[in-house]
Point group: C2
């Protein structure tokens, strides 16, 4: 299968060069078992709110927000606003395209 996606190997590798950011991506693979249920909505369709990710990672709010922004810039995650919360979910297309690119180019 061919993924026609713009994505930058170096930029994505920089994201993956930090173990907290790798953990976040892994946690988002299965929100149900890694996070408590959201109070305002009864699903994880759009991912997980920043506060839960921050609590689980054990780093400051600003650090996690910065991490998520860098992951969003690399298009590894997609943010969705619901009321006062921002939910982040994985961008599976880019993640697959990155792995595919490594497998063929690297």
């Amino acid at each position: 299968m061919l993924y026609i996606c713009h994505m930058n190997i170096t930029e994505i590798s920089k994201v993956l060069a930090n173990s907290t950011r790798v953990s976040i991506l892994k946690w988002l693979k299965d929100p149900e078992s890694n996070f408590p249920p959201h109070k305002d909505i009864d699903h994880f369709n759009d991912g997980v709110c920043v506060g839960y990710i921050q609590e689980k990672a054990g780093l400051s709010q600003s650090t996690i927000s910065t991490y998520l922004t860098s992951m969003q810039n690399a298009e590894l995650v997609i943010p969705t606003r619901h009321g006062k919360w921002t939910y982040y979910k994985r961008n599976e297309a880019i993640i697959s395209a990155y792995i595919e690119a490594l497998a063929t180019e690297l």
Copy 2:
């Protein structure tokens, strides 16, 4: 296929977070078309000598040597000494294991 290899996702990602190091790995995939023939030996069985890699990358000798050491620490390349030259070749097992690990864990 299962690769039972010790390798560190974060450490390898740090290597891949630099475009010169990614280029070196790619060049080493096909030494014949990326480098001139060696003068002392008539093959690339053990990879390419540091000097050729340095010349192609256009960075200083110490920088390239440092890069190659970090790549060796991450087990992405394997050094072989022949006389006064050190040849570096790709460690295909670790590279495959890394991509496999991303595909399953990430």
